[in-house]
Amino acid sequence: MSTETAHDTHAEHGMSTRGYIGIAVILAAITALEVSTYYVDFGPLFLPALLIMMVVKFFMVVSYFMHLKFDNKLFSWLFYAGLFLAVGVYVAALGTFHFFIR
């Protein structure tokens, strides 16, 4: 049995204050770009660009602000299991209702 305590493993981790501010600036810039798609015609790139920006923002917050990138992999497994189960189940459900071919 490990004699390591939960408190010990909960050591300081993550980034410096400057790093967090840098991530926030990138997130703000991506949000501004997202909003610009409402005013500027991106043509066929509109939908993929928006979805990619959404996914990038999502994983930046999860990885850096929620520290999953620096934390034990078990936490990642628990969260991503729920996330990917949800994505799989609901993409299948939407497909059943012909959502993607309308």
Partner: protein, 210 residues
């Protein structure tokens, strides 16, 4: 599962463990943190269901205004930005708590609560404006699914604000039980989660037209 400390540990170490109110666990990880990540994983299923329902019903407008007629993108963009920035202040609160900086922790927690309250205030304003423009909860399938999805999210943010304010009040009296930095981090995880859910809602609900 919390297991008792082994006999190989010295008395000094045992006292240290008791002082920090930490536990030896079978994984070597905090059970509280494991539980929180499991909870957040299950919340993905809850919000996935609500978002999918909205995506199916957003074009079903038998009466009342359509999404294009009613959404105020500039206004929602500002409230989205406010919520996004509250994630920064939250992570600064966690960082301050890990450095045992009580003043900084309380300050950033309070700022996070204030930004969250601004977001919820914006949502109340939005709901009121939509209702006045003819979109009630039972007006159309679009209205029902929209209010259910964004309402559930708003309730989550409100619960987060209550937790943040309660933590500030308890921390000011120095009565946070267990590891203070871990408590702040757990509330932080919940707060960031409501932020990432809004990242998805903002794109799928507001920015992508029907």
């Amino acid at each position: 599962m919390v297991l008792p400390a082994t006999g190989t540990q010295s008395g000094h170490h045992m006292a240290e463990v008791a002082t920090h109110d930490a536990h030896v666990t079978s994984t070597g990880l905090s059970n509280v943190k494991l539980g929180m990540w499991l909870f957040l994983g299950s919340e993905c299923l809850l919000f996935g269901g609500l978002i999918s329902t909205y995506m199916l019903y957003r074009g079903r407008v038998s009466a009342g205004p359509t999404p294009e007629q009613i959404y105020d993108i500039p206004f929602t963009s500002v409230s989205s930005f406010v919520l996004l920035m509250s994630s920064l202040t939250m992570v600064l609160a966690v960082s301050a708590a890990q450095k045992k900086d009580d003043r900084g922790t309380n300050l950033w927690l309070a700022v996070t609560a204030l930004l969250g309250a601004t977001f919820v205030g914006g949502q109340v304003y939005e709901f009121t404006a939509f209702y006045n423009e003819g979109l009630g909860f039972t007006t159309s399938l679009f209205g029902s699914s929209f209010y259910t999805l964004t309402g559930f999210h708003g309730v989550h943010v409100t619960v987060g604000i209550i937790m943040l304010m309660a933590l500030v009040a308890i921390n000011k009296r120095s009565k946070v039980p267990g590891s203070k930095s871990e408590t702040v981090e757990m509330i932080g995880l919940y707060w960031h989660f409501v932020d990432i859910v809004w990242i998805i809602i903002f794109t799928l609900v507001y920015l992508i037209p029907v």
